[in-house]
């Protein structure tokens, strides 16, 4: 195999593909590699960690077709060290590949390509639809951080992507909080549900382009096709809990506050939170304010009020401050609405005027 590529093309390709190579040690060595396939339909870079896999086309000249697998780490380091324009040539002979660019020549040991797994695609797709990459990314990235990190319940360690009627939504929860992002679509797409493991979702969303993407889903596998590549991922085949039940229907108190005020107050109060990261929130309807307080036996205590429009009953709730601050940075609106549904019951946080995103957090025991 002899191929010549533009440096920039190579850099970008290796950058996105190496994300999908296996990073853990102790697995099959070839999984930590990138396969370079130069065939009749151009040059493709391929990597997989048996959870997700990618096949990415890169532009380049093929002088001689062939296949080879090279360690992803080394390739990434080489690619990262490039500066300026120019081309890079890879020449495969025997057990080595010679990488030459400008005056530099390096010889790389190859990995056994015959061990490189195939990328599975959905066999009998139950759903097949096209969505813009930008929409898909905004859906999934706004919730994926709230999925559970424990693998005890695989369904909670996943992001739910589902379409119904004219809208598509992404949901993630770790059973302490839940985030839902819902976007209505102009074109109708068939109803479907898919559970993408949250770990895979993060890598996939970083890689997908903004252009239109075709998504195919079957029971166990999901795939994303775009003009220059394919991404495939294992799906979790379990039932997602019926989360709509826990979203409160009625609220006893509402508060609308400026986001930056609340964020700053929370940040200061959090310094005094105890080992459980507890921060107390008090809705004061008569005083038109929400007060935040925290105390720590070793540090001291602090309390602060944020004024805004507050209605309903006066109620006190305690939260893990990390769970309160997490969604704030992702909200585009200037003000936020906190809606409490009662003591010991969930509180809902939304950006004012933004109905697409809902964040629900459970309070701590008082």
């Amino acid at each position: 195999m002899i191929i010549t590529l533009d440096k920039k093309e190579f850099m970008e390709g290796v950058g996105s593909v190496s994300r999908f190579a296996e990073r853990r040690t102790g697995t099959l060595p070839v999984l930590a590699g990138i396969a370079i396939i130069a065939g009749d339909d151009g040059i493709k870079l391929r990597a997989t960690n048996l959870e997700t896999g990618i096949d990415l086309k890169v532009n380049g000249k093929i002088q001689e077709t062939g296949v080879v697998a090279l360690p992803a780490n080394t390739l990434r380091e080489i690619a990262a060290s490039f500066s300026g324009g120019g081309t890079i040539t890879l020449e495969h002979a025997g057990e080595t590949v010679v990488v030459s660019t400008g005056g530099a020549r390096s010889t790389l040991k190859t990995l056994p390509f015959e061990d490189f797994p195939t990328l599975p695609l959905p066999e009998a797709p139950q759903a097949k639809f096209t969505l813009s990459g930008a929409t898909l990314k905004s859906l999934v990235t706004s919730v994926m951080n709230y999925a559970s990190t424990s693998s005890v319940r695989p369904e909670l360690a996943s992001v739910l992507l589902a379409a119904e009627g004219g809208s598509i939504k992404a949901v993630a929860t770790d059973s302490f909080r839940l985030a839902e992002k819902k976007i209505s679509l102009k074109a109708t797409i068939p109803p479907f549900t898919m559970l993408i493991p949250a770990k895979n979702a993060a890598d996939i969303m970083q890689t997908l382009p903004d252009e239109d993407i075709e998504i195919q889903v079957d029971d166990h596998q999901g795939a994303f096709f775009w003009s220059t590549g394919v991404l495939t991922t294992r799906l979790v085949s379990a039932n997602y809990p019926d989360y709509t039940q826990i979203i409160p229907k009625s609220f006893i108190a509402d508060a609308t506050l400026l986001k930056k005020d609340f964020e700053a107050a929370l940040k200061r109060t959090a310094i005094f939170s105890d080992s459980f990261l507890k921060v107390r929130l008090e809705f004061d309807a008569s005083g038109k304010k929400v007060s935040l307080s925290a105390q720590n036996a070793d540090v001291g205590d602090s309390s602060e009020t944020v004024s805004g429009s507050v209605s309903g009953e006066s109620v006190q709730l305690s939260f893990n401050h990390r769970y309160l601050s997490a969604p704030l940075s992702g909200l585009a609106s200037d003000s936020i609405t906190l809606s409490a549904s009662g003591i010991g019951r969930a509180m809902v946080l939304r950006g004012s005027g933004d109905t697409s995103f809902l964040y629900l957090v459970m309070p701590m025991n008082q």
Partner: protein
Amino acid sequence: MNRLDARELWEYVLTQVELSISPANFNTWFRDSSIVKIEDGIVYIGVPSQFFRDWYLKKFNMLLLKIIRSVSHEYRNIEYTIVKDDRRRQPKEPRRTPQQTTEMPLDEFYINKSDNLNPRYTFDNFVIGAFNELAHTAAQTAIKRPGVTYNPLFIYGETGRGKTHLIQAIGNQFKKLYPTRKVFYLTSEKFGTDYTDSLQAGTANRFKEKYRQFDLIIMDDVQFLSKKEKMQEELFHLFNAFHDNNKQVIFSSDRAPVAIPDIADRLRGRFASGMTVDIGEPDSESRMAIVRKKAAIHGVTLSDEVVEHIATSVAGSIRELEGVINSVVCHTQVKGVPPDLAEVRQSLRSFARPQKTVSVKHVVSKVAEFYGIDEESIYEKTRRREVVRPRQVIMYILREDFSVSYPTIGSKLGGRDHTTVIHSCEKVKREVIDDTELAKEIQDIRTLLV
């Protein structure tokens, strides 16, 4: 075909596959797979995802077919199914709970650097019985008014009776009750090395400072200070400093202060000046309580008969008891269910002291060799002093260690009457308590016989 057969078949398949592919390949592709069911000659292999199914079909199908056909021609074909996440979890589920307890022990090794205390030792998991009630009460009293009521508190008892647990629990409790005060736990051996180190480094003053900053000092195994005069002196001064400032000191030892050999009298007196309390042999109820509690700590509930069997059949210290419980816990974690009585009996065999069926002749020759006398003279009817004593020792050992009957001992040792044997055994038994020389001799002989 039942499920067990499917599992056995898969295990066989794995052993065969392992031989024909590289370990990395084997670990990557076969770790999470299993045979789900066997139906109508079709073997259904469950794999975690489509990555696996595709690869199995491409690479391993022929190999697997060959292997299962070699087992039986009944198996016609292999199908690969992707196992649902919730179904895959199920076989692991019963194991998961005990597995969490395997995670826990990581904490057990965690020792707080600033005070050397092991947080695992608390009063909560300390089993109280008639044998250690007094020691426990003394500890509780001491902690209520540290430095005043019992200073020093001296706890002694044989190895494995829970001395360390008790004194560390005092330390941990003290820490909880008085967060601002400082505790330090150390063994006398550590004290010794610290002392010599500081002498070598020429920082003896810093050594004194270091210890005097604490409010409670707990020193384990002080008997090791015997014959170390300089260290005894240092401890004596340290103790005085503590005592004068009403700071609590706690000692433990494997014997009473008076019985610690080669220790300065002034220190011996100090040891005994506060409260001296011993921990005796645990009675059978306490042993059962201990077994139950230790197993419960590991999240394992044992049936009453198993608990009773362990408590009665494991002679010796609580430490040995703990060893047996650990093996039972391990068993539970591996198999998923607590062992029943038969299984416990089986595994206890490896813990039981080897059943010593040693010939009388062997004992006689060893003892004769030890005392440097002629073996034949033991059997003779002589009453020479140098022969009588070894003969009595032989009888005592045969009786105590090997449970040989009195008449048998008599007849084997030159046809003596069984009453003679009883007399000899009783005599040695009496003497061994006071005569440390004799006790040591018998101890040495025992090591020769093992």
